[in-house]
């Protein structure tokens, strides 16, 4: 864990953190450019959930708990223990609200909110905590000359 993401412990316990990382890294997986987590999206989200998105923190925690329960129901393992292809398949079904457990919070609807927050962290300015060293901008070809 990076020193910055250590602060997440205040918002999430270790199991939640692992689940969140597995989730964000399925939304923006690593290729020859870093994954969401590697680029700092975890730090972005931490700041947001302690600030602008503070009201959404309980929903994030509830949704992650459901995600874990859903993974156990479908695969017999926690979400963080699934391979990327399994996580992707499960999230695709969750996105379409095809779930086997009882969700107290809209499975697909809230997933789309997390996707949006993940993209914000990855593609916005590094000052927001994600897009470490402007890596996402290098990837897409947005150069800042002045």
């Amino acid at each position: 864990m990076t020193p910055e993401s250590a602060g997440m412990n205040k918002l999430f316990d270790q199991a939640e953190l692992e689940c969140l990382r597995a989730l964000l890294d399925a939304i923006i997986p690593a290729d020859d450019f870093p994954s969401a987590w590697e680029a700092g999206v975890g730090d972005y989200l931490q700041r947001q959930l302690a600030g602008d998105l503070a009201k959404a923190l309980p929903d994030y925690r509830a949704w992650l708990a459901q995600l874990t329960a859903e993974a156990r129901a479908q695969y017999g393992r926690g979400f963080a223990q699934l391979r990327l292809s399994e996580r992707t398949g499960l999230l695709r079904r969750i996105e379409a609200d095809e779930v086997q457990t009882q969700w107290a919070i809209a499975p697909g609807g809230f997933f789309r909110e997390i996707v949006e927050a993940c993209a914000e962290g990855y593609y916005s300015d590094p000052g927001n905590g994600g897009n470490r060293d402007g890596i996402a901008w290098r990837m897409v070809g947005f150069e800042v000359t002045a």
């Binding site: 997986p29 290729d31 602008d52 593609y123 300015d125 897409v140 000359t145 002045a146």
Partner: protein, 552 residues
Amino acid sequence: MSEYDAIVVGAGAGGGVAAAVLTAAGKSVLLLERGRALSFAAVGRDHLRNQRMPVYGHNAGPDIDGNPRTIDASSLPRLVGEALGDKRLLKPHQPGYQNNAACVGSGTRVYAGQAWRFMPQDFRMASEYGVPAGSSLADWPLSYEDLAPYYEKVEWEIGICGDHRGMTHLPAYKKPYPMPALPLPYKSTVHKSGLQRLGWQALRVPRLINSQPYNGRQACINCQHCVGFACPADAKNGSHNTTVPRALSSGNCTLLTEVMVEKLAVSAGGAVTGVTFIDAEQKRRTIRADVIVLSCGAVETARLLLNSATAQEPAGIGNGGDQVGRNLQGHYYPSAVGLFPETMFDGMGPGCSIATCQFNHGNDGIIGGGFLGDEDIVTPITLWKRFYPPDAPRWGSAAKRFMRENYRRINDVTGPVQEIPSPDARVSINPQVRDRYGIPVAHLSGATHPETVRTARFMHQRAREWLRASGAIQVWGMPPPRYLSGGQHQAGTCRMGEDPTTSVVDPFCRVHSQERLFIADGSPHVTNGGFNPVETIMALAWRTAETIVKTW
């Protein structure tokens, strides 16, 4: 006893010009601004909190807390804000609030600086098209010829670059722009070919940007953060680096920032004699002057008048005809977006360089129209949020690959549609909700006239045609639905006219019911053209201030 010759409320586009012209004529001016003077660093480069992409906040004011407005839920394209009975309570960065900015310079601190003259037809819309049912469409009490000399002053005094020979939709210019147009980025050359293929006019977008050193400041360095941000080279010409410093350097101007004007002060007879404002320490002060100029922007000027009820004018100063706050208008933007087979992005800012006025007027069965232009550089997160194809993947490796392969290949074309005014599109006062100073806030209601939506649909199709002609292999986008528009291009709430029963100010922008009260901002615009409004706001403010001096 008057302490100043004049008080100007608001240090934005119109207020800056008023202060500069009045002080140049030797008048002493008190310039009052509710926002702060913002340094380059204070404006910053936050891609989620700027005036262009205000997701969680913005960078040019007003402060997010303590400055609410309310709006009828039916005026919003989608439900935002907090429920408050049948109304919604909005923060300044939320859609529907109709924000421009609040700081020294206001929107001009962070704007794109597109600098357009309106067309002769824009000043006589009712005569050109007739008045559609339910609309308050009217002619201006002045013509293009009346304003042309002031357009020219703004072009030279504030500093506009462009190529007057390409402005074939306008009467011939008397003088060229003082600076040549900015160089064309690669994508603009592609869009120019598209226009030529269609046989549509192609012109260089005039901008309030130094293409060469001008007025003691350097030239544009083609950075990627123009619209929504402050200029790193100080080459963008706004009120903060032209008219306001000019007024201050005259020695005749006192600028107070972080002061909120609450209401106009009046004599026993009801004549306006000054203003009452509240400063940062929450202290209330009344200062008197011979002339008062309101330049608060279309929403706040209306709010200030309506909050200034007197015994003689119980519905608010200037509101005897129940006109103050009506006809709020901005611009519809019916953008279309295209995916191109080649890399369009070459990193050269600001970006919006090529436009056509082919469809501002003369469209069969359509009222008005607007120009269409290419776009300033779009940040990656703005592309993701605003210009992403609806059928492209949003997550997983495919989404990441899509952004990587196509960020540089996606371009939109867009432009402001001339709105057909509706008297119901309105600013009023909500006495139940107060701002941080305890002043009743603006309430917004109504929506634009349905003809605006129809014109926007027509323009959206033209935007799609242009993209196709420029070589786009996929085109998407939706014309906007009907809602209340105003925002950064807000205008119209104190319309100009001869008749006090149908207008708020006279043809020289003096409030009908008052001898010494003038308005110099977007509020007097009878209609708002199919163009970004700031050059017209500045030109009109110039004419108003000059009239004040001449008739002192």
